[in-house]
Subunit: 489 residues, 2 copies
């Protein structure tokens, strides 16, 4: 047999070299020198090691991939196939902090024992929700026709609720026929569906810095590259926004226009207009997550209304002012996109939200008391914002801005104090806090904490917070130069 590496006939050489490279890799995989899931040497490196050209390695890898032994991952190289350790989100999520990351905060808040004070959670206490209207809707539903209680829902979700949304949007100057509205299982689910529709691994997605922490965990699942733009009291920093669009050509910008999470800031009209102008210039699609809409006493500008759903997709849910247990969100988008999103929802969930959930939302929204509930909620939250700010002041904790509505208060801690250290110490006090860097892609919010003014009624919170701050100070290096006010000490 001819030793192909020593012959000079080009055809035999190329074929033989390719076979030799493939055989070498096959042998390493067989001997578990390359384990399932392991990355193969880069094309250039292996070419160097084996004294062959990169194209020979490319051909050998192609052949092994065709055999199902290895596979390519975009932008990442080739990997050994087989029953590798499957993806865990912990690997996919950026972990700036070993213990305190977005999924940590979700788990802490969702799995907290009843009665535990949760000044860091992202929802209202049960007693602040429209319990009477929900119970009335539920009693009505117990008398509904059979099909409503047991049949699958339609692909877009019940028309009644989509008509209600159509009218609500029309009131804001956004004309969207009910046909262009898709009901989803939640607001998060809406982002996820859109991500699966518009994004491919390796795409770049823009978020605000800081932004809702679960956006990071969610987009990590999509394998996209996240970039943050600093959020100012009137919206994203426009100079940075423009620079990032020009330099990185992001596919998507995911944001809250009203009562942004976690800052509570809302978009100004000028910023809204300029964001859309820049988006048009760089062909950027925007997902406007309007989940806090009903918490605004007076509506602020909406990108979707200015843009008319040309490049903006509007999403939202009823979790913040009606019920998070009911699980119902929505997407309003271009007709062609909406059609594809509906198909995707059928394929991945065989439909959207529970038709019973949809009926409960519709019943509650139609209940005469819902509007009054919102009015009372706005007043109650306004008072709670002022009171919380007043009680945080002696601890040296200062709001970044006073939001025009909602329950979020984004606050600066005393100089030098690390919010993650405070949150860790607060666990010993039985308090679940929301430290700033959980929200910040750049890790630049270590001096901030998000408070929920509706969850601060328990007197233990402020005492526990003061003790946690002291504990964090004790554990910090002297170089931190932490400056706690006398009332904490």
């Amino acid at each position: 047999m001819v030793d192909s590496t020593h012959t000079h006939s080009p055809a035999v050489t190329a074929g033989g070299r390719t076979a030799r490279v493939a055989e070498t890799i096959r042998g390493r995989i067989g001997a578990r020198g390359l384990a399932p899931g392991e990355r193969l040497p880069s094309i250039r490196r292996l070419a160097g090691q084996m004294g062959v050209s990169p194209s020979t390695v490319v051909e050998a890898y192609d052949r092994l991939a065709a055999e199902g032994l290895i596979r390519a991952r975009p932008g990442s190289g080739f990997y050994v196939c087989g029953p590798a350790a499957p993806l865990t989100l912990a690997d996919a999520t950026p972990r700036r902090d070993r213990a305190i990351d977005p999924l940590w905060l979700s788990r802490q808040a969702l799995d907290a024992e009843p009665g535990v004070p949760m000044p860091g959670c992202g929802w209202l206490p049960a007693a602040w929700m429209p319990q009477g209207a929900i119970r009335r809707a539920m009693r009505g539903l117990a008398r509904a026709e059979d099909g409503l209680l047991t049949d699958y829902g339609s692909t877009r979700g019940a028309l009644d609720l989509r008509r209600l949304l159509e009218r609500q949007f029309a009131g804001e100057g956004l004309a969207v026929p009910a046909d262009q509205i898709l009901l989803t299982a939640s607001d998060t689910n809406a982002v996820d569906l859109i991500g699966r529709f518009l994004l491919r691994p390796g795409d770049t997605v823009l978020v605000d810095d800081p932004c809702y922490f679960n956006f990071q965990a969610l987009l990590a699942v999509h394998g996209v590259r996240l970039l943050g733009v600093p959020y100012t009291p009137t919206g994203p920093d426009l100079a940075r926004f423009e620079a990032v669009l020009a330099e990185h050509r992001p596919r998507l910008y995911l944001t809250n226009s009203a009562l942004q999470n976690p800052t509570g800031a809302s978009l100004s009209p000028q910023t809204a207009h300029l964001v859309l102008t820049l988006a048009a210039a760089h062909d950027l699609t925007i997902v406007e997550d309007d989940i806090f809409a009903d918490l605004e006493p007076e509506p602020s500008p909406r990108l979707a209304a200015l843009d008319g759903l040309a490049r903006v997709i509007r999403i939202g849910s009823f979790s913040k002012t009606l019920s998070a247990a009911i699980r119902c969100g929505y997407i309003a988008a271009r007709p062609d996109w909406l059609e594809a999103l509906a198909d995707l929802q059928v394929a991945t969930s065989f439909g959207g939200p529970s038709p019973i959930s949809v009926e409960l939302v519709t019943g509650t929204l139609r209940d005469g008391s819902y509007r009054r509930h919102l009015d009372a909620l706005h007043r109650r939250l306004s008072k709670a914002r002022r009171e919380t700010a007043a009680r945080l002041e002696p601890l040296g904790i200062v709001p970044w801005l006073m939001p025009r509505g909602g329950f979020q208060l984004w606050c600066a801690l005393p100089h030098g104090l690390d919010a993650a250290d405070v949150a860790r110490a607060a666990l010993d006090e039985g308090l679940v806090l929301a430290p700033g860097n959980v929200f910040s892609l750049s890790g630049s919010a270590s001096g901030f904490m998000r408070f929920n003014v509706a969850q601060m009624g328990d007197a233990r919170i402020f005492d526990g917070l003061a003790r946690a701050m002291k504990a964090a100070q004790r554990r910090a290096p002297a170089s931190a130069e932490i400056d706690l006010p006398p009332s904490v000490l």
Copy 2:
């Protein structure tokens, strides 16, 4: 400037050639000769066209990818970045037939007008479901404590329902602590979560041929390669199963063990044992979709029970015997996998099913009437299976087997008749049928049709079916040699 293609200094040659290839592609993209989303020429083809080596093209593409102009897709080549036409499922789904495909069937069934006969749909009529028990559960829930009605659920879902499932599984000989059970928004959602956890684009997944049509649409979203194994009356064809495992090393096998959809067949004990033995030999993970469990009068073998959740993941829901409107499914799996799946569900949906749905399921299962409902349902379905078979016989439509339970009847049509043609003609009769090839990856079930014996009560169905068969015969080419029985003609 040196024309790099004519110099013989290797360093300059390689760098210059790479730059020239990159510049050419850059120019074509700029001039929209290559549009956003378009596939670039293959490495070998471009190398040939430009008279350079494949490695030069590899380097040029790498450079353009680093610039964000193009990107690799695994197993598929390089694509122009930018605001391309986004993925539509229609593209991702194999379309053996332009009109009649899995998503067509889902849409037809989910969006049918009330009262339209649906002999092809995959669920029971509302009147066959436990309406009384659901209404009682709902009235009870209208008096529940506030938090239950408005708070987010826990990450795994309410413990009460997981404990009920734990006891049910224990009764089948499968010991699974409640901690190893995750509640999901649906059975489909359970498959989707598992797919996102275990699968990567390009992986190979095994399904039965025929199988539940939406498995195809769902797995297309995951970008995996689907392979089918013929399903026999006692489970997958073991010789083919073994051959496919050896040849293609699939990552996952997705199947129903009991009352398989669409055939109604159930796994025999011997086949179950051998499937697991082969799975162990080839390190295959199995997802056992047990959605028809409660439709079996006598339980058949389960892979999960034999395997003890080592390599089998068990999923299911309550849609087929309790309510499809309530939307609640579950996953039982290895502890480490379950933990990761729970994280993934938080990231993509901020929790699982609606806690209200979970409470309604729990209340209905605990209602003394539910067991009686199942007993009555089994008797009613047994009668409906016999009656449907008797009424299909004069049309020359013959069951492939008589299932031990459930509502599915997988039937052979008269020789030569194409089920898709009949389904198309039936639309004119106001009937939504489920033609065989919607379920068949290999397209080998054109002579079959899935009927739902619980949806055949409307006398119009059999007349309409006969007319549709005649119409399909008229439109077929003479070469089809269709053999309709006298009663149809």
